[in-house]
């Protein structure tokens, strides 16, 4: 049982996803759990519902999971993955409308203080304003 919101990073590129997760770990620390996925099942660019589902479940917390995505398909596939979670878990997982790298760092910084999922997403989404 963790008491911080977890972060999931979904990029079309496995390297971008890993890089963003590395930035979160190095800048914010280890107390916020971060999972990432990127690329299709053959190593090319793309996103994969099964991989997103796995990433969400790897860091799932009833406190919440904030999902950061890059381009269109990443969002569509993440929405699909969220709907496929077991009953009662979907509502604790939310996609943040924020740039993937900056949003992930901001979301994790907010999460580190024990903030709610709503506050975590608001901080990530507030980044550009």
């Amino acid at each position: 049982m963790t008491d911080t919101v977890s972060i999931v990073i979904v990029s079309h590129s496995a390297e971008v996803a890993k890089g963003a997760a590395d930035m979160v770990r190095q800048m914010v620390g280890e107390e916020v759990r971060v999972a990432f996925c990127g690329g299709n099942s053959e190593g090319g660019l793309g996103t994969d519902v099964a991989a997103i589902l796995e990433a969400i479940q790897a860091v799932y917390s009833s406190k919440g999971v904030a999902v950061l995505v890059d381009l269109g398909g990443a969002e569509t596939n993440s929405e699909m993955a969220i709907e496929m979670l077991p009953e009662g878990e979907s509502e604790n997982v939310r996609i943040c409308n924020a740039p993937i790298v900056e949003g992930a760092v901001m979301a994790a910084t907010e999460a580190a203080g024990g903030s709610s999922l709503t506050a975590v997403c608001a901080t990530a989404e507030d980044f550009q304003s």
């Binding site: 793309g46 996103t47 519902v49 269109g72 398909g73 596939n77 929405e79």
Partner: protein
């Protein structure tokens, strides 16, 4: 369309869908290279091949559950946004009805549920240069009681209409005006699948 005609052999439908996707994979990829990221043919083949591998298991289920399982297979295997879009289409059709529709009105209602799910998933509608430009007129043809010929021509007209369109959804929308003059790959794959379904219906 008679009751006998809409009591489809799901196994044959899956085989026909896989065959048409495989036969046109290069064409879909070429269309997608022009305005997308060039993986549509490849992704569709992967998804429909996985569906065919599970065809016996899918076809053994009643209509609703079978479509749900077929849709889920596409969601998990296609990769890219086409997986959730085609998957949502089939899953919503399966959710709309437990048993196979027995008349064209019931079939139109089932397809309607699927089309609405695609709109919701893609946050889009006809006119944005997507698969919905084929699905929406096909559904309308069914709802008007049109036969197989009407469905086929609705799919063809819908597909052709995507060529001069400006893409406002999906990857192609990044191209802005440069998306004009190309057929939409998703609309093309959708039209191919409509024709494949019509082929099976005509044989039965």
């Amino acid at each position: 369309m008679t009751a006998a005609q809409v009591t489809l052999s799901l196994q044959r439908l899956i085989e026909a869908a896989q065959a048409t996707v495989a036969a046109h994979a290069e064409e879909l990829t070429a269309l997608d290279q022009a305005i997308g990221d060039g993986d549509h043919g490849h992704n569709m083949v992967r998804g429909f091949t996985a569906m065919q591998a599970a065809a016996a298991e899918i076809a053994a289920q009643p209509f609703g559950k079978a479509l749900h399982k077929a849709g889920m297979t596409l969601v998990m295997k296609v990769g890219g946004a086409s997986g959730p879009l085609y998957g949502s289409l089939l899953m919503a059709m399966g959710k709309a009805r437990e048993d196979a529709p027995t008349d064209s009105a019931a079939l139109a209602a089932v397809v309607q549920a699927g089309v609405e799910a695609v709109k919701a998933r893609g946050k889009s509608d006809a006119g944005a240069k997507t698969m919905l430009d084929v699905l929406v007129p096909v559904q309308a043809a069914l709802a008007e009681g049109g036969g197989i010929a009407a469905v086929r021509s609705a799919a063809d007209a819908g597909l052709a209409a995507t060529k001069p369109m400006l893409a406002t959804k999906g990857r192609a929308s990044f191209l802005g005006e440069r998306s004009i003059g190309h057929l939409d790959p998703g609309a093309r794959s959708c039209a191919l699948l409509v024709h494949a379904v019509c082929d099976v219906l005509e044989e039965e």
